[in-house]
């Protein structure tokens, strides 16, 4: 493939532009944490200041809402990972009847527009006169994460060598020990990846949440519902902090991976 400098050059250019497109808004968010906005909207650049970082935690409504988002995400994703992980394990490890029907049941929630899912949950809670609030949000978030987790984990489990379990049993390992030492370590990377991604989905959800939240405010709800009235710069600070945590995690895990690799080679 080395004989096509033009095509390669084009690919590099397009890739560079693509990454620029992905990152320009993220950089914008970070830059606007240093903005001193005139008026209530932190969307036009005025002048440089450190004030927003100094008073990062002053907008208590957004912080409370962010705390709620984290609580919802943790509870919902733990339940979803448990339910979805078990389903994925059953489908990929055992022979069972009704596989196609189960696949359909798992795929449908992903192909249902969020707005329809939100609306249908709203009618369920309305009909049963369930008061909408924290737990209805948890249920809704669990719902869209279950399928996501089940399908992601299923994809990761495909191709794992289950005969390792037999080998352990042949060597006299009791079933629980086999699970702890063989099965669990094999399935854990897939499950943790699915858990992380569903956390991100849950923390970010606005549309379904808006139908089932009652008067409980999550971070996206707080931002969107007040975006017509005010966008304080502290919102940008919170977002930048989360982004920094993500960047550090990515860099750290990559470095750890590279070090492992070099250790294996050396």
């Amino acid at each position: 493939m080395t004989r096509r400098p033009l095509a390669t050059w084009l690919l590099y250019a397009v890739t560079f532009l693509g990454f620029a497109y992905l990152f320009v808004p993220l950089i914008t968010i970070a830059v606007f944490t240093f903005n001193k906005p005139k008026g209530r909207f932190n969307t036009a650049w005025q002048s440089f200041t450190f004030d927003n970082w100094r008073h990062a935690f002053q907008q208590s409504d957004y912080l409370t809402a962010f705390g709620k988002s984290i609580q919802v995400a943790l509870i919902a994703c733990v339940i979803a990972t448990f339910l979805g992980g078990l389903m994925a394990l059953a489908i990929s490890r055992y022979k069972m009847k009704g596989g196609p029907a189960l696949d359909l049941l798992l795929i449908l929630p992903l192909t249902t527009p969020e707005i329809v899912m939100g609306a249908s949950l709203f009618t369920l809670f309305f009909n049963q006169s369930v008061r909408r609030g924290f737990w209805t949000i948890v249920i809704a978030h669990t719902l869209f994460c279950v399928s996501f987790v089940a399908l992601t984990v299923k994809a990761r489990l495909r191709g794992l060598d289950w005969s390792l379990e037999d080998a352990a049993a042949d060597l006299g390992s009791p079933p629980l020990r086999t699970f702890r030492k063989i099965t669990f370590p094999m399935i854990v990377p897939g499950i943790s990846a699915a858990f992380m991604l569903s956390l991100a989905l849950s923390i970010d959800d606005y549309i379904i949440t808006s139908f089932v939240a009652g008067n409980v405010s999550t971070f996206p709800r707080e931002v969107f519902d007040s975006s017509k009235i005010t966008i304080p710069p502290q919102v940008h600070v919170i977002a930048t902090l989360i982004m920094l945590i993500a960047v550090v995690t990515i860099v750290a895990s990559t470095l750890a991976g590279l070090r492992r690799e070099s250790r294996l080679k050396g």
Partner: protein
């Protein structure tokens, strides 16, 4: 884990009742909170609403809500589908080369680049959209650069700007959708490209296939499952989305179907109308997906 050591096909084993026990809690959850609500919603879509001011409804097999959904919300439906379709195509055009680069050219930096692609996921969807408000604003960096390069007239002629504005145009809405759903297109394409055996590409080159033909005959067909999955993951949420329309659009482009469902439900309390619109939306999406799957399927055979 119950032990059952009979060898089985594909390494899978016969767990007797165990697998059914494992899937039971998940199925129960999906049944109660997904299937039952959808049935309820369908029932409501066939109901009518006796009192305009109260949310209560009577079930009457009233199909009128469905015809009303088309007549009253036709333009919102068309607008949502057009925006979503354009955004999906743009996503595919941008995501494919990026995924190709990461899968075949990134070498040891592959995981770093993949992590970077995921980074937008870890920033609020809303704030990313608000960042586009800043970028596309009348005094924002994009337009002022264009102005200093004297490109204002050209942008206007190409209908990229309307009356010298980028923000609050249809294009801004489509751009926002494209941006926000790009990772959902990119990841499945990457996954399918990564699975391709590089030896196939080498074999084609050894047999003097020019790169263009190798790509067309080998790489592209093998990556089609990823394109298909990515299209669904982009197109379906994009049709129901109203956040981009709301934050980046103008009063006309704000009228998308997602917004219609939301206002009927949460502001007008007209549940039957909203339920019918929801099912029309779902029906249309399902029909399009089936057609698309058929289309791709026949392409594969040809």
């Amino acid at each position: 884990m119950a032990r059952d050591d009979t060898a089985s096909d594909a390494g899978r084993r016969d767990g007797r009742n165990l697998p059914y026990l494992l899937v039971l809690p998940g199925i129960a959850f999906l049944f109660v909170f997904f299937v039952v609500p959808l049935i309820t919603l369908f029932k409501i879509s066939l109901s009518n609403k006796p009192d305009r001011l109260r949310p209560e409804y009577d079930f009457t097999w009233d199909w009128g809500n469905f015809s009303a959904a088309f007549t009253d919300f036709g333009s919102q439906l068309v607008r949502a589908f057009v925006y979503a379709a354009i955004a999906t195509v743009l996503c595919a055009l941008i995501a494919y080369p990026l995924a190709y680069f990461i899968a075949f050219k990134a070498g040891r930096y592959r995981n770093v680049l993949l992590g970077l692609v995921m980074l937008p996921f870890f920033t609020s969807f809303l704030l990313r959209t608000i960042a586009w408000q800043s970028l596309l604003a009348d005094a924002g960096p994009v337009l002022s650069t264009a102005r200093s390069l004297k490109l204002g007239g050209l942008l206007e002629a190409l209908q990229i700007t309307q009356d010298g504005r980028l923000i609050n145009t249809q294009l801004a809405v489509i751009g926002g959708l494209t941006y926000n759903f790009l990772p959902f297109m990119l990841l499945p394409i990457y996954v399918s490209l990564e699975k391709i055996d590089v030896r196939l590409v080498d074999a084609a080159a050894d047999l003097y296939s020019p790169f263009g033909r190798t790509f067309q005959r080998v790489v592209l067909p093998l990556s089609m499952p990823g394109v298909f999955a990515g299209t669904l993951l982009t197109f379906i949420p994009a049709t129901g989305d109203f956040i981009n329309a709301e934050l980046l659009g103008n009063p006309t482009s704000r009228k998308v179907i997602g917004n219609a469902v939301r206002t009927q439900f949460l502001n007008q309390n007209d549940y039957p109308a909203a339920a019918a619109i929801s099912f029309v939306l779902m029906g249309l999406i399902t029909a399009l997906v089936v057609v698309y799957a058929k289309f791709l399927g026949t392409e594969d055979l040809a």
